[in-house]
C-alpha cells in the first residue's frame, strides 16, 4: 500500500532521515517508535509531502508521489496539538476536506454527522472549537482527518499532553476504530506502551534509520540489538563485546533464600504486574516481573532462577550502514 524507499533528509548539517525503508500494508497500522530527535516526525512529514526528500521515494498504491503536492496526495494527517481551525465550528472543521473535494453540502453534512457519531461526538456540529475539552478536540481532529477518506492516515504523537486516564481510553478507542473502518495508518509515538497497543507492526527508529520492524510480540521476543531491547524496556542486558544476552523479566523468578546471592532493592506495582529489582553481591542488577501478589519486599535475600527460554542472544549494536539481517525480519 504505502512504501518508503531509501528516504533521506538533511537538516542543518545532520541527516534527519538517513535512508529509511518502510512498508505499510492495507488496513494495518504501523507504529513508528523512537526517542525524540530520531527522525520519526520528519518521516511522517515526508510521507505527507510537507518535507522534501533529498533522496529516495514514497509510493502509494504503486503510484509514485514524487512531485505530488500535499493537497493531492490523499493522505490525512493528525497533529499532536490538533491544529483545529479556530475560526470555524466543529462541523466546518470536519467538513473542510470534503469541501476541498467539492462534495455537495447535503452529502458533506451527512458525512460529518456520520463521522461525529463514529468518534463519539454525535450532535455537536455547531460547538465552537474553543469550547471543546482536550478529549473532544482530539475526536474532532480525528474526524476531520478521516472525513475525506484518506488512503493513509498519519498521526504525529496525537495523544501527547493528555492525562493518563484519557490517554489510555483514547488509545483503546483508536485501535478499535482503525480495525472497524480498516484504516491504513502510520502512528508516530515515543511511548512504548502506546506503540504496542496501537501498532499492528512497530517500527523502531534511531538516528534517522529504522532499527527494526516487527509485531509487538516479535519485538519483545527478539529485539534486533541491545539498544532496541533497552529502548522497549528490556533492562536485563548482559553485554559481552559484540554479543549481548537479553533476559525478559517475566522469565526471571526470585526465590526467598537466606543463603541466596542477591538482595531485593525495589518493588513497584503497575496494575496487575509487579516489577522487582535485585542486586547480586557482585554488583549486577536484574529485574523480575510477575503477576499476582508480591510477597517479597526490599531487603529480602533471594536466589535468582532464570528460564533459559527467556534469554535471547543479540548483537550489541547493528551496523550503521548495512542493516543487520535480523533487523529485516518484517521489512519488504
Amino acid at each position: 500500500m504505502l512504501s518508503v524507499r531509501g528516504a533521506r533528509v538533511a537538516m542543518g548539517g545532520h541527516e534527519a532521515l538517513a535512508g529509511v525503508d518502510l512498508d505499510v500494508e492495507r488496513g494495518t497500522t504501523v507504529a513508528v517508535l523512537g526517542p525524540s530527535g530520531s527522525g520519526k516526525s520528519t518521516l511522517l512529514r515526508a510521507i505527507a509531502g510537507l518535507q522534501r526528500l533529498d533522496d529516495g521515494s514514497v509510493t502509494l498504491g504503486g503510484r509514485s508521489l514524487a512531485g505530488v503536492p500535499p493537497h493531492r496526495r490523499e493522505i490525512g494527517l493528525m497533529f499532536q496539538d490538533d491544529a483545529l481551525f479556530p475560526h470555524r465550528d466543529v462541523a466546518a472543521n470536519v467538513s473542510f476536506g470534503l469541501r476541498m473535494q467539492g462534495v455537495a453540502p447535503p452529502a458533506a453534512a451527512a458525512r460529518v454527522a456520520e463521522l461525529l457519531d463514529l468518534v463519539g461526538l454525535g450532535g455537536r456540529e455547531h460547538r465552537r472549537v474553543a469550547s471543546l475539552s482536550g478529549g473532544e478536540r482530539k475526536r474532532v481532529a480525528l474526524a476531520r482527518a478521516l472525513a475525506p477518506s484518506p488512503q493513509v492516515l498519519l498521526l504525529d504523537e496525537p495523544l501527547g499532553a493528555l492525562d493518563r486516564a484519557l490517554h489510555d481510553r483514547l488509545v483503546t478507542e483508536l485501535r478499535g476504530l482503525f480495525d472497524e473502518i480498516r484504516q491504513t495508518a502510520v502512528y508516530v509515538t515515543h511511548d512504548v506502551a502506546e506503540a504496542f497497543a496501537v501498532g499492528t507492526q512497530v517500527a523502531v527508529m534511531r538516528e534517522g534509520m529504522i532499527a527494526q520492524v516487527a509485531t509487538p510480540e516479535r519485538l519483545w521476543a527478539a529485539p534486533a540489538d541491545a539498544w532496541v531491547a533497552r529502548f522497549i524496556g528490556l533492562t536485563n542486558i548482559d553485554e559481552r563485546g559484540g554479543t549481548s544476552f537479553v533476559t525478559r523479566p517475566e522469565g526471571v523468578v526470585f526465590r526467598s533464600d537466606a543463603s541466596g546471592d542477591a538482595l531485593v532493592i525495589s518493588s513497584h506495582r503497575d496494575g496487575p504486574v509487579v516489577t522487582l529489582c535485585a542486586r547480586y553481591d557482585d554488583g549486577r542488577e536484574i529485574v523480575s516481573a510477575h503477576t499476582g501478589l508480591a510477597p517479597l519486599t526490599p531487603g529480602a535475600r533471594v536466589s535468582v532462577e532464570i528460564d533459559p527460554a527467556a534469554v535471547v542472544e543479540v548483537p550489541t549494536t547493528i551496523a550503521r550502514e548495512a542493516p543487520h539481517p535480523s533487523a529485516g525480519d518484517a521489512v519488504g
Binding site: 509531502g49 493537497h71 475525506p148 484518506p150
Partner: protein, 520 residues
C-alpha cells in the same frame, strides 16, 4: 523530488515583495535621496545654518521635558487601569486613547482655545499639548504590563518581610521597567518629531528641527538649508531610536506573566479614594480641552457653508476632500503595507521590520519636503497632481498597517496550513480559507487606523496639498494663521468635524480589535 515546485513559489514570493519595494523606492527612498543630494551638493555644501545648535537643544529638551511630564501624568492612570477592576474600566481605557488618535492640529486648536490669554502660545502650551497627546502611550503600555505582573511575586516579598515601599521598589518597579522605558522612548520620539503642535502653539521664536525644515522650505524657500536640517533630523532620529533599543535591550523582558483576569481586583479602603481621585483628574484633563473646543466652535457652524478669504473653497468642502483622500490613502496603505506584512511574516521578527518602519521615524515633514524637491522635474513632475496627497498620507499610515498585520500573520500556526494542505487545499486556497479569515480582523483594524492617521496627517500633506483641494488639517491651519475671532471659531468648528470623524473611525477599529489582541 516531491512537493510543489519551489522555483514557482519563490517567483510568487518575489512578486509579492516587489510591489511594496517598488512603492517605497519611488515614493520614499527617491525623495530621501533627493534631500540628500540637495543637502550635500548645492552651493555651500554641508554647512549648518546659523542657530542650529540652539534649535537642536530646544528640540531635545522640550522632548525630554514632555516625556517626564507625560510619565508623571500617565503613571497614576496606568496604576488604576493595570491593577483594579471597576465599573467603566473599559470606557476609561477607550477614552484614554482618544487624544492619541486625534490629529495634532485638533489638539493644538483645542489648547489655543483652552489656555488663558498670554499662555496660549509658548513652551507651556507645547508641554501641555504633548502630555495630553501622549498620556495614552504611557497608560496603555505601562498599564498593560502592570496587569500581567503576577501578584504572587509581590506577596512572596511581603511574606519575606518587605514593606509596601520596598515591594514597589524591588519587585514591581523592576518588572515594569521594560514597559516604562518603552513608553518613554516612544513618547520622546513622538515629541522630538512633533510638528503640528509646535508649529501652531510654539509662537514666534519657538522652533524645533521639524518646524524649522518647514519654515525654511515653505516660507523662506531656502531649500538648501531645509535639506541640511532634514539630514540632521534623520541622524538625530536614528540616534534616538538606537538609544531606545539599547535601553529596551538592557531592561530585559518582564519576568512574571500572569493572566490579566487573575491580576485585576476591586480596590479596597484608601485605594478607593485614590482611584476616584485619579479617574476624576484624568477625566478632567482628557475631556476639558475637547469641551472647550466644542464651545469655541459654537456659533461658527453656519460659516462653514460661506466663502471665506482664507480658502479657495467653502470650508465644508475640505471635509469632503479629506475623507476622499484619506480613504484612498488607507486603501494604498492596506495594499502596500499588507503585501509588505505578508513578506515580512515569512521570516521571524527582526531587522527587516525596522527597515519597513523607517518612514515612521523619518518624519512626515521630511517626506513632504522630499516630495516637493523630488517630483519637480520631468518625467517626474507631479507637483500639481492631486494624488500626491493620498500617496504621502499612505506612506505615513503604511508602517502602522505592517505593525498590526504582520504579527497577526506570524501568529498563525503554520500547522493549520499544513492540515489544510493534507485535507486537499492547494496553497492559494489554503491562504484564502485559513490565513485570510484569521487576519481579516487585523486588516479591518489596520484599515480603520490607516484611515484615521491619513485623515489627520498634517506634516506631509501641508507640503503637497493644492490650494483648491485643502484637507481639514490644512484648512484649520490656514484659519488659525489669520487674525480674528471668526477665523479661530471656524478653525474650532472644522477641528470638531475632523475629531468626530477620526474618533468614530478609531473607535470602530478598536471595537473590531477587541477580543483578538491589542491594536496599540
Amino acid at each position: 523530488m516531491d512537493t510543489n515546485s519551489p522555483a514557482l513559489r519563490r517567483g510568487w514570493h518575489v512578486a509579492v515583495a516587489l510591489v511594496p519595494a517598488a512603492f517605497l523606492a519611488l515614493f520614499f527612498a527617491f525623495p530621501l535621496a533627493s534631500i540628500l543630494e540637495r543637502g550635500l551638493t548645492s552651493a555651500g555644501g554641508l554647512s549648518l545654518p546659523a542657530g542650529t545648535g540652539a534649535l537642536l537643544w530646544f528640540t531635545a529638551w522640550q522632548a525630554a521635558a514632555s516625556t517626564l511630564l507625560t510619565l508623571a501624568a500617565g503613571l497614576p492612570l496606568a496604576w488604576a487601569i493595570g491593577r483594579f477592576r471597576f465599573r467603566g474600566r473599559s470606557l476609561a481605557r477607550a477614552l484614554v486613547l482618544v487624544p492619541f488618535v486625534l490629529p495634532t492640529v485638533v489638539v493644538a486648536t483645542a489648547f489655543l482655545a483652552l489656555l488663558p490669554a498670554g499662555y496660549e502660545r509658548g513652551i507651556w502650551a507645547i508641554l501641555a499639548a504633548h502630555v495630553f497627546f501622549n498620556i495614552a502611550v504611557v497608560t496603555r503600555v505601562v498599564g498593560g504590563a502592570w496587569s500581567t505582573i503576577d501578584p504572587a511575586s509581590s506577596e512572596a516579598a511581603a511574606v519575606l518581610g518587605a514593606g509596601p515601599w520596598r515591594r514597589a521598589r524591588e519587585v514591581t518597579l523592576p518588572q515594569l521597567a521594560p514597559a516604562l522605558s518603552a513608553s518613554a522612548a516612544l513618547t520622546f520620539l513622538f515629541t522630538f518629531t512633533s510638528f503640528g503642535v509646535i508649529l501652531i502653539l510654539g509662537g514666534p521664536g519657538r522652533a524645533t528641527l521639524e518646524t524649522e525644515i518647514y519654515n525654511r522650505a515653505a516660507r523662506q524657500f531656502d531649500l538648501h538649508a531645509a535639506a541640511v536640517l532634514s539630514l540632521l533630523q534623520l541622524v538625530a532620529v536614528a540616534v534616538v531610536l538606537a538609544v531606545a533599543s539599547l535601553l529596551e535591550a538592557r531592561a530585559g523582558p518582564a519576568s512574571t506573566l500572569a493572566d490579566e483576569g487573575s491580576v485585576l481586583r476591586r480596590p479596597i479602603g484608601r485605594e478607593r479614594i485614590a482611584l476616584a481621585a485619579v479617574l476624576t483628574a484624568a477625566a478632567l484633563v482628557l475631556v476639558l480641552p475637547l469641551a472647550v473646543l466644542v464651545r469655541r466652535s459654537l456659533g461658527n457652524w453656519g460659516a462653514l457653508f460661506r466663502e471665506t478669504p482664507a480658502l479657495l473653497v467653502e470650508p465644508w468642502q475640505a471635509a469632503v476632500y479629506s475623507v476622499a483622500f484619506a480613504s484612498l490613502a488607507a486603501l494604498i496603505a492596506l495594499v502596500v503595507g499588507g503585501l509588505a506584512a505578508v513578506t515580512l511574516a515569512r521570516r521571524p521578527a527582526g531587522a527587516v521590520d525596522g527597515f519597513v518602519l523607517l518612514p515612521l521615524g523619518a518624519s512626515a515633514v521630511m517626506l513632504g519636503f522630499g516630495f516637493l524637491i523630488a517630483f519637480d522635474t520631468a518625467p517626474l513632475d507631479f507637483r500639481s497632481s492631486w494624488w500626491l496627497v493620498p500617496v504621502a498620507q499612505s506612506l505615513v499610515a503604511a508602517p502602522f498597517v505592517v505593525r498590526i498585520v504582520a504579527p497577526a500573520l506570524r501568529s498563525i500556526d503554520p500547522r493549520l496550513r499544513e492540515v489544510a494542505a493534507t485535507l486537499g487545499a492547494a496553497p492559494a486556497r489554503a491562504w484564502r480559507e485559513v490565513d485570510l479569515p484569521l487576519v481579516g480582523r487585523a486588516f479591518a483594524v489596520a484599515a480603520g487606523f490607516a484611515f484615521a492617521i491619513a485623515l489627520g496627517e498634517f506634516g506631509a500633506t501641508v507640503f503637497v496639498a493644492r490650494a483648491e483641494q485643502p484637507t481639514l488639517p490644512v484648512a484649520i491651519f490656514r484659519f488659525l494663521g489669520r487674525p480674528g475671532a471668526e477665523n479661530q471659531g471656524l478653525a474650532a468648528a472644522l477641528a470638531v468635524v475632523l475629531a468626530g470623524i477620526v474618533v468614530c473611525a478609531a473607535l470602530a477599529a478598536e471595537r473590531v480589535a477587541e477580543g483578538r489582541g491589542r491594536a496599540l
